[in-house]
């Protein structure tokens, strides 16, 4: 059991490195001049970095889930190839962030082996998470991008604090709900056939709802707001097992979002662009329309790596705006077609499946809720941006985890992966040990 998990991980990393090599080879072949062995060299570098991480995991977390790391490495490979194909210098940054992300990944595993300490500092962690969320609105360091306040600039350092605060807030919610889930269940009353949470414990739900509405107004980002609230509802459902709480929460979110969409101008604009992109096809609606055309243009198998058009030929004007961040998914669909797109979505689905599996086998409530929350927030982020570029929901500026260009996103998501693997290692280690007398008592 022990070595077989890590052996499967090692075997799975080989096709990932091969895919990266093939991707680069295809991009080079398209550029014509440099077919040579450069793609093999990049592939070898990538494999070496993954191998080093694998050996670290073999020593530190021998029982952890074997497929999470290869799946996330595959997403990174997608990101590196696509970003390289857009701009070589951006890809160099991206590769550096990948390595930096893995260093933080290793440090997290090193220093948070006993991740239960997180529970003791939950209020500190929650405060840091909220501060990070509000930082982009602080004068001097905050930055406004396309009307949303998402970035922070501290001297030469620029980052998107929401990427880190999502982890902090999930840790807090997992710890809070672990302790209060019983009172939420026991005090519930049925009113007109609907199970309502007890009134005095309704407070936390209102606080989280208020916080996500506050984000909608002050950070003006529907995507992050949706991401946080949906992760909260996922946790609430797992903690209480009451689907009615989820329905009530969704109704509250819809009502709140609808109210602010009709009163806050920036949010209103985003919704208008989503519903009626043709009202302003060369201005506000340009990005979403081009994103959809690019995807339609890909067909079943796509145009091939490096063959999609990002700028209008002969000019520098963008044909696909923000191709390296917001619309990178559309570019992947353009170049790899419907099959490539389904492949990418399958990767996210498999990651979600592995994550929930970890929650299933984890031994204690905090681990279960933490694994659920981290998996949920990661998957919902992917949904928010893929849904955005395919016009399922209004397009907002969150990143496609591990694929989009952006250091904060890559580093924060590797920390998230480290936490998942820590939980997984403990859960699988306990699962192979005999359960003892509790089984005889009928306890689970």
């Amino acid at each position: 059991m022990r070595s077989s998990a890590r052996n499967r991980e090692l075997v799975a990393l080989v096709p990932v490195a091969l895919l990266l090599t093939a991707g680069f080879a295809a991009v080079f072949a398209q550029e014509g001049s440099r077919l040579g062995n450069l793609s093999a060299i990049y592939g070898a570098y990538f494999f070496a970095v993954c191998l080093a991480t694998h050996i670290y995991l073999r020593i530190r977390l021998p029982n952890a889930d074997p497929y999470l790391f290869p799946l996330m490495a595959l997403l990174t490979a997608f990101g590196l190839v696509m970003v390289y194909r857009i701009d070589e210098s951006l890809a160099r940054d991206q590769a550096n962030w990948f390595v930096l992300g893995l260093v933080l990944f290793a440090l997290t595993i090193q220093f948070l082996r006993d991740y239960e300490v997180l529970e003791r500092f939950r209020y500190t962690i929650a405060a840091i998470g909220l501060l990070l969320l509000l930082a982009p609105r602080l004068p001097g360091i905050g930055q406004q991008v396309n009307g949303a306040y998402l970035g922070v600039k501290l001297g030469p350092l620029q980052f998107q604090p929401a990427e880190f605060s999502k982890i902090a807030i999930v840790i807090f919610l997992a710890s809070y709900l672990r302790e209060h889930r019983e009172v939420l269940i026991v005090g519930a009353r049925r009113v007109l056939g609907v199970t309502l949470p007890p009134l005095k414990h309704f407070g936390p739900m209102l606080v989280v709802w208020g916080a996500s509405m506050f984000m909608l107004v002050f950070i003006r980002d529907l995507g992050s707001s949706l991401m946080f609230f949906a992760a909260f509802l996922a946790l609430l459902y797992v903690a209480t097992g009451r689907f009615s709480f989820v329905v009530i929460g969704m109704a509250m979110f819809v009502v709140g979002a609808w109210f602010f969409a009709s009163t806050v101008p920036h949010v209103h604009d985003r919704v208008e662009i989503w519903l009626h992109p043709y009202n302003d096809p060369t201005g506000n609606g340009y990005q979403i329309l081009q994103s959809i055309f690019a995807q339609a243009d890909g067909g079943l198998f796509g145009k091939g790596f490096g063959q999609g058009l990002i700028t209008i030929p002969g000019t520098n004007a963008a044909l696909l705006p923000a191709a390296q961040t917001d619309t990178i998914y559309s570019l992947i669909v353009n170049e790899l077609g419907l099959f490539g797109a389904c492949g990418v979505i399958l990767i996210y689905l498999l990651i979600a499946a592995r994550g929930f599996k970890i929650a299933l086998i984890a031994g204690d409530g905090f681990s279960k809720l933490l694994a659920t929350g981290l998996t949920a927030v990661f998957s919902i982020q992917a949904f928010v941006i893929i849904g955005g570029v395919t016009r399922v929901i209004p397009l907002t500026g969150v990143t496609l985890p591990f694929v989009s260009y952006g250091g904060s996103s890559i580093v924060a998501n590797f920390v998230l992966l480290a936490l998942l693997l820590l939980i997984s290692d403990r859960a699988r280690r306990e699962a192979v040990e005999p359960a003892g007398r509790e089984l005889a008592l009928g306890m689970t």
């Binding site: 499967r8 295809a26 790899l336 099959f339 409530g365």
Partner: protein, 156 residues
Amino acid sequence: MAYDPISVALKFGFLAVLYLFLLVIARSAFKDLRRTTSPAPDATGFHAAPAYAEAPRGVDAWLVVDRGGGLEPDQRFDLIGGLSIGRSKDSDVQIEDRYASSLHARVFERGGRYFVEDMNSTNGTLLNGATLKGEAELIDGDTVQIGDTEFRLEAS
């Protein structure tokens, strides 16, 4: 340019390897699902149905949950053979409590009388509200508190 054979081969090769890779991982996920012999009582295995242990003959004392600990109130544990209480999975009574140690306390029978003993826990054990030092005898109605979790002894 558009139909360079190398590019086309690489594109389809890429998709083929990608799908093979995902297929292998998905298959292993299905295997995992099949391997789970005892299905969890619900989607998460979190809300285990209260396990009211059938009282074996000869038992005349139980540890009964009053509140907290991630256990159902009024859940009963028979005291035959003694019980260990703690946060670890190996405990007979596994409690989810921030203030509990992995092996926190034990309750046992000796010569027809029942005792509770604190196992050098970090945050201590309260017997009827007073800090427990070492071991002490338990009688019907005594309460044992560990962190936010409370038990009482029921003896007949």
